[in-house]
């Protein structure tokens, strides 16, 4: 039972994530990747004449089913087998994140920032709405996300995926070190 409620170390988590690559190939000849599901949602739900969304999304429905499974898996891991303790962050991370004005370290995401009421603040709107937009726009423009490029693409020795993965990190570093401190002061 402890194994199910306690957080897993990297050497358990990482290899298990890596195993999704051969499992998806063996079970259905599918390339591991999540961000395409956002495109399928558009094709499925938004009535539009945009060419990019005119394709047979039903042929890719496995990706949406996989995403649905992730919601269920998240529910089992995060609610049924919830970790009762705070995340064991490094001391230096706690110090740095505190300087951003965050004091509540319980849960998986900071409850002070990511709430429905903070959506109406400039800080909350930028972090959630603008941040979400950048995820959807950027991953499709880059033709993949952390799973499709960093894990699947790199596993298959694709150099464009290496370029994208480096750019994901460059963007993340720029946000974390240069821009985020200003957003958090809003």
């Amino acid at each position: 039972m402890n194994f199910l409620t306690q957080p897993w170390p990297w050497y358990i988590t990482g290899p298990l994530i890596g195993l999704m690559v051969p499992l998806l190939l063996l079970f259905g000849n599918k390339a591991f990747g999540i961000s395409s599901s956002l495109r399928h949602i558009c094709a499925m739900c938004i009535p539009t004449n945009v060419k990019f969304f005119k394709y047979d999304w039903k042929a890719e429905s496995w990706n949406l089913i996989f995403a649905l499974g992730m919601i269920v898996g998240g529910c089992i891991a995060g609610i049924v087998f919830k970790n009762p303790n705070n995340i064991a962050l490094s001391e230096s991370a706690v110090t740095s994140i505190s300087t951003l004005g965050i004091t509540n370290f319980s849960g998986l995401i900071p409850a002070e920032v990511f709430t429905f009421s903070s959506l109406l603040t400039l800080k909350g709107f930028i972090l959630m709405v603008v941040g979400g937009f950048l995820i959807g726009f950027g991953t499709r423009y880059a033709n993949g996300c952390t799973s499709g490029h960093a894990i699947m693409g790199m596993s298959n020795l694709q150099w464009p995926s290496l370029v994208s993965t480096c750019c994901f990190f460059a963007g993340g570093l720029l946000m974390t070190w240069v821009i985020l401190p200003h957003i958090m002061k809003l």
């Binding site: 995403a67 087998f81 991953t139």
Partner: protein, 136 residues
């Protein structure tokens, strides 16, 4: 139902993401600040296992469970790999999530993440609208 296996794999993957805490805004901040090995260990060991798996599949010409030849489409390079990659990186550090974690977080009870997901869907839609005008 032929998609049932993907539902099961998705459940397993969502479970792993939460238990490994890789969907945590705190962990992503810690990663971008180089204050813990956790995320680097996860990503690197995942790539190593994925690499070895694909190597074995290709080397021994392993077929799918239904007997089909395994085909992996190559990734083609465009300027989007760079520009889109940078834009996504900004969003990753803001929300602490990439597309996969959004689904797992919603399941774990963080309903506010639905807003981020809807915004990401809108972002993908706007990419589709602007695609022909963007440098590729």
């Amino acid at each position: 139902m032929k998609n049932f296996k993907f539902l099961v794999l998705g459940i397993v993957f969502g479970f792993i993401l939460i238990k490994g805490e890789v969907i945590s805004w705190f962990r992503i901040q810690e990663m971008f600040r180089f204050q813990s090995f956790h995320m680097y260990g996860v990503i690197c060991s995942a790539i190593v296992i994925g690499m070895i798996s694909i190597f074995i599949i290709k080397k021994f010409n392993i077929k799918t469970f239904s007997g089909a030849e395994i085909k992996i489409a190559p990734k083609e390079f465009t300027k989007g790999n760079i520009i889109g990659g940078l834009l996504f990186g900004l969003g990753w550090a803001m929300t602490g999530a990439c597309p996969g974690p959004l689904y797992a977080l919603i399941g774990s009870g963080s309903l506010i993440v639905i807003v981020i997901l809807l915004s990401a869907v809108f972002g993908t839609y706007m990419y589709g609208v602007l695609k022909d005008k963007l440098p590729h």
